[in-house]
Symmetry: C2
Subunit: 316 residues, 2 copies
């Protein structure tokens, strides 16, 4: 007869995780303790929405906008949590303060959750809220920020809005991952996906901007309405620069004077090559540099800033 192995009472996780603090079920936990049941439909059906806000030099940036998007997303997905905006704000502040991170990547998530009977009806599930703060990360590393990202335009279709609403921030990324592997194979750093009309949509974790003859444009359909994207729109308005949310054909992206991408993870990031061809001079563009500088300057602006109270810090 086949000899059966023994059951282990508690899971021992051999992996290493980044530093950080999470919140689940009323508990603040070291990040390596923040774990989701494999039966949670946020995992098994990717039935979840989330948001990511960053903390820079000890202050959240545009936290209110991220919270608004998150609560709207939950409502669209028929989900609810036992916390209001003020309570989620407090939880996020606490995660960051307990982590001690001055520059942090702060994610907050609502999953469909679980039901004791593993019911297939999403209405039977108890939704689950999770938040965590880990060190700030970026789509582009230091070298890529300096030389500009190299993009590959792939023929991968970004999951269309008639399937999944892109304005409800979600974890449906297999199209992005397919794009990434195609980009790596072509020697690029990351990928651009296309929309149902063959126009530019977005890439893994970022929105795309093109600059041509002093006019700034960014796709409007089949994309997440990013908060960093909105910050660029706001900056253009302040600068008196024309900025249009509109279709961008792939050839127009490639023949732009400048291209940059935006993400909470990294801010404004320059692009110097697409499909192996230089954009403009092939160097980081002047307007891109200006936008990067203005974006980080805005972090000192009280309109957008919520200061974190770290333990032991004096009031600010």
């Amino acid at each position: 007869m086949h000899k059966l192995p023994k059951l282990t009472a508690r899971h021992v996780d051999p992996r290493t995780y980044p530093p950080g603090v999470a919140y689940m079920d009323g508990q603040y936990l070291p990040i390596q303790e923040a774990k989701l049941s494999v039966l949670d439909y946020g995992f098994l059906h990717s039935d979840a929405t989330y948001d990511v806000v960053h903390v820079w030099n000890g202050a959240f940036f545009r936290l209110g906008d991220h919270l608004e998007r998150f609560f709207r997303g939950m409502s669209e997905l028929h989900m609810s949590i036992p916390y209001d905006t003020a309570q989620v704000t407090e939880i996020l502040h606490n995660c960051v303060a307990l982590s001690g991170l001055e520059n942090a990547y702060v994610e907050f998530i609502c999953t469909r959750g679980t039901s004791p009977e593993f019911s297939r009806d999403p209405r039977d599930a108890e939704n689950r809220f999770i938040a965590f703060a880990i060190p700030f990360g970026s789509v582009a590393n230091k070298e890529q920020m300096e030389r500009g990202l190299h993009l590959a335009v792939t023929d991968v279709l970004r999951i269309p809005p008639s399937s999944v609403d892109p304005t409800v921030k979600n974890y449906h990324w297999l199209d992005m991952v397919k794009g990434l592997y195609a980009a790596y194979e072509r020697g690029a750093d990351t990928a651009v996906l296309i929309d149902v009309n063959g126009n530019v949509s977005e890439g893994p974790g970022f929105n795309i901007f093109a600059v041509k003859d002093g006019v700034v444009s960014t796709p409007n359909l089949s994309v997440l309405l990013g908060i960093t994207r909105q910050t660029i729109v706001d900056l253009c308005a302040e600068m008196g620069l024309p900025c249009h949310a509109q279709d961008i054909a792939v050839e127009d992206l490639k023949s732009a004077d400048e291209v940059f991408v935006t993400s909470t993870a990294g801010g404004v990031m320059p692009v110097s090559k697409i499909d192996g061809q230089p954009i403009g001079s092939g160097e980081v563009g002047l307007l891109s540099e200006r936008m990067m500088a203005l974006y980080w300057q805005l972090h000192a602006d009280d309109r957008y800033r919520s200061v974190v109270s770290y333990p032991g810090a004096t009031d600010q």
Copy 2:
């Protein structure tokens, strides 16, 4: 100053889960201990593939076919695990035997996993294998099996193959969930999604079959190539019934003589109403009943059956 809460060393999970046994990291665990880091990209990017096989009366059904599909899916997603087919087979057997379940729903998963630095490059992640056995579940409950399911054809587009390959079994279900809520609103039990041409695709966890004038048909594009679907194709061949994998227009589905759906979770399940209109007589169809009977009879067939050795059982 803001008073900070304390960190808890270990997460205490207040939720109740179904009975079952899981395998992770070389450990067999009670299902409530089977948890995934919130940083796993299988969760954060739904970057994962999986399969579900069932155990009926103490034996796996068509396990080899499920394993083959799972290993092919991992390869398509550039994933690998340190187990071959024989080792995964042993793990699945052990999970079921340890659970004691004679009728089980057995899921095995490969996620992109994690990297210690939370790298955004999927090539940096260590892939993760998880398996679990829980009680057998069904898309249709007992009442629905007897009276036939009531379907609603929604205008939700099933995520198209040009975005995500449907033949690599995946967790991208927000389109399915949207369809479900639309179906509930219309008083139906579950939903049918459409493909890019407006034809019938699949529903949440099942393939669809129509029977008209003795000819059986099932959609071929934008669907998972289900093992239960294949079993129906095989049964039709044995019975000498014509069976075509082809486009089905929504109106052809509604005017079919019989409609049934198939899933590992429930087998063959009859449909008696679509969008409030009866299918055929509005009763469970004769061929549907025949297929249900033949499907379950096939579970005694040694071609498809792998017997589980439960603890304390004598050799079979």
